[in-house]
Structures are given as C-alpha cells and as structure tokens.
Subunit: 199 residues, 2 copies
DNA sequence: CCATATATGTTGGATAAGCAACAGATTTGA
DNA sequence: TCAAATCTGTTGCTTATCCAACATATATGG
C-alpha cells in the first residue's frame, strides 16, 4: 500500500488493472464524501467524518489522498470527465461537434454544481471547481490536437480558457441565452487561422 | 483469514468486535446474492455469479462460507432474526405478548418469502427456509426459558415446532384467518401445565 | 489563561482480501 | 461417446486494509 496515490491523477479514469480493493475503497470514500457535501459545508467536513461514513479506516484514507482537498479535486475531475465522456459521440477527435459538446458540458456542469451546493460551499469551493474542470478540458484538447501537430500548447491553453470563460459566464447567469453556434464559429475560425481545418 | 467462518453461526447478529473488512465483505456477498435470487433460480446461481456481483474474489467467498447452501442458511437466519428483533417490544423475556409476536412473525416471514420467490425457488428452497427459521425460533425460546429453569429442552422443542406449524399452515393458505389469541392460549395453558406461569 | 478535548498526519506490525494455479467433478455439445 | 469448457474447492504467496500508538496542531470551554 505504497503507490496507490501515485496513479491517482495520471489519467482519472484508467481503472483497468487496478487492484479491486483499491477501486472499492475509492468508491466508498467518494460516495461518503458526496453524501456529506449535501449535508454540511466543505470546510466543516473532517477526514474522520468521511472515513466513518465510508466505513474505512482513517489511515486508509491517507493511503489514497493526501488530504480532503486532494479528494475534492479528484471528485470534481472524475465526475466532469465522466459526464463529458458520456456526451461525446465522436470519441477522441477534433471536430466542431466535439467543440460544441465541450462548451455545453462545461456550462451544464458548473451550473449543476452551483445548484447542488449550499451558498457557503458555492463561495469557497467554486475556484477549486474551475481549476479542476479546466485541467480536464485542457487535457482533452491536448489529446485532440496531438494527431494534428505537436507544438500547439499555446492554442490548447487559449481555447481551454475560452471554453471555461463561456461556461462560467453562462452558468452564473441562467437568464442569458448561450449562442453556442456563434462561439463554435469563433473557435473554428480561430483554429483555421493557424492552419487547422475542421470537418 | 482463517477463522472467519468460525463465528458465523454462534450468534447471527453479533457484529461487535468483528473486523470491519469482514463485515463489509459479508454484506457485499449477501447483497449480491439477494439480487441474484430475484433474477434466477437458486439452483442456477453459481458461486462465481455471486462473487462477480459482489466484486470480491472467489477465494474470499470460501473464506466466509463453505458453499452457497451455507450462505443461503445464513441469509435466512439473519433476515428472520432481524425481523423478529425489530418487532419484539419486551426484549429477551418470556411473555404472552412475545409468544404472539413470534407466531405472527413466523407466518409473515414465510408468506413474504413465498411471495418473493419464483415458483421454482418456492419448491426447492422452502424446506431449507423452514429449517433455518425453526433454528432461530428455537434459539429464542431456549434463551427465554433459561432464566426460569435449565432442563426445558423438550418444552422448547415442542413449542418451537408448534409455532412453526402454525406459521407454515397460515402462510401457505392466505385465505385462512389466523386465530392468534386461541393459539397463544394453547401455548400459555400448556406451559402452565408444566409449572410455568406467564405475566 | 490554561487544561482538555478533538483533528491531523504518520508509522509498524497484524490480518483479510486478491490472485494465479491446481486437481477433480460436472456440463455442454459436436 | 468423447473432448472441451465450466464449476468447485484448495493452497502459497502478494498486497491493501486495519489498528493502536504517537507527535503535533487546532479548537473548546471553564
């Protein structure tokens, strides 16, 4: 029980070949944490609360996560990742449809998160959520860019933050209508400008 | 992982002091087994089916139960035990009220079991159910008798089977009305005959 | 203010769960 | 009928989880 934390963030969803006990324990922790998040504020949740709820030993928790903040990051990253994967039709490819899905998923995930949380949690946690969601968006973009060219780091950074910006904007004010097609056009035209043609 | 099976049947509900991993694994096995029971016949369920559903290793199953029949016995004994404990108001005492509760609980448990199962399972499993439920009823009676006198084995055997007989009879034909008070009277009078006065 | 909890991480040794491989029994189906 | 496949228990070794104990930090309250 040494290298469990090691793989936790390489790829958030590579459960293949992992010891079944590790997968079970992770799920118990995550489920217990989710239960607690709707009951009380993040700041008020102790590691002991989590392990009691998960029916695992406290030492085992620390074998999986360095602290509750790492657990939180993991939960956000994984749930967003799963939501996005479930919505993508063209798996692993750069296309206008996938860009559209990306924009909509970020917005929906963020507004869903705001809807679930207590007001206090909204204030304190939102920045962490954004950071983790962005990390995932960025990872997807890099993955999509890779077959096209290697040195597109700047483009990935720019577009990932553009997508996040749109998502944040529209998730915070639900009265606004999101003009997805216009945004997709901006992104595709922009990419076209640096020699990347979609579809 | 040697003596797990050891304590399994001493008292069906003494979870105190047992290793948490054992309790979790047991629960996973029992839950998976329950799921499978409503899907297919008991005879068609393999140990591998159970362990796959429970997400545990097959070898771990054999550390807990000698075979699927032992698991079945355990499930019956435990669920009946829990149902009865939940209904008893006068905990651990011999009284007309507890005798009444015993009669009704046996009938309800048996008819509930018949209602859940596939016709095939009803035929094949019913004898095992009766055997295990009787073992529990007998254990409760012995426990209630103990403060009164020591050599009441015959009385416990007789009354436990009388209770079972009533339960079986009325669970198999739901149209009959169970005259509980008459039966309780029979039992209390009978006990009175050997010098045991209730209430 | 200080004493008494309570929370956080960490460690070493004990124990349950995982796994692969095995032999033998039973089922399947060609 | 016979061979291939599947199921059943069992075993030795590996690995993850448990637990108790510890040092430290942060409340909590009298």
């Amino acid at each position: 029980m040494e290298m469990i934390k090691e793989n936790t963030f390489r790829h958030v969803l590579d459960d293949d070949g992992v010891d079944p006990r590790v997968l079970r324990t992770r799920k118990l922790i995550v489920d217990g944490f989710h239960e607690l998040l709707v009951e009380k504020d993040f700041q008020a949740i102790s590691v002991r609360d989590i392990t009691d709820r998960a029916t695992i030993n406290r030492a085992t928790f620390y074998a999986h996560f360095v602290d509750k903040y790492a657990l939180f990051d993991y939960v956000i990253a994984r749930s967003f990742h799963e939501l996005l994967r479930g919505r993508l039709t063209h798996r692993c490819g750069l296309s206008t449809e996938n860009l559209r899905t990306l924009l909509l998923t970020v917005r929906d995930y963020l507004s869903g998160h705001l809807a679930h949380c207590t007001p206090d949690n909204q204030q304190n946690i939102h920045p962490y959520v954004i950071r983790q969601v962005h990390a995932q968006v960025h990872e997807f973009l890099v993955h999509w860019f890779k077959p096209i060219a290697n040195d597109l780091d700047a483009a990935a950074a720019l577009i990932s933050w553009a997508v996040m910006g749109a998502g944040i904007h529209y998730s915070e004010d639900q009265t606004l209508e999101m003009d997805v097609e216009q945004m997709v056009t901006v992104l595709t035209q922009g990419l076209d400008g640096i020699g990347i043609n979609l579809d």
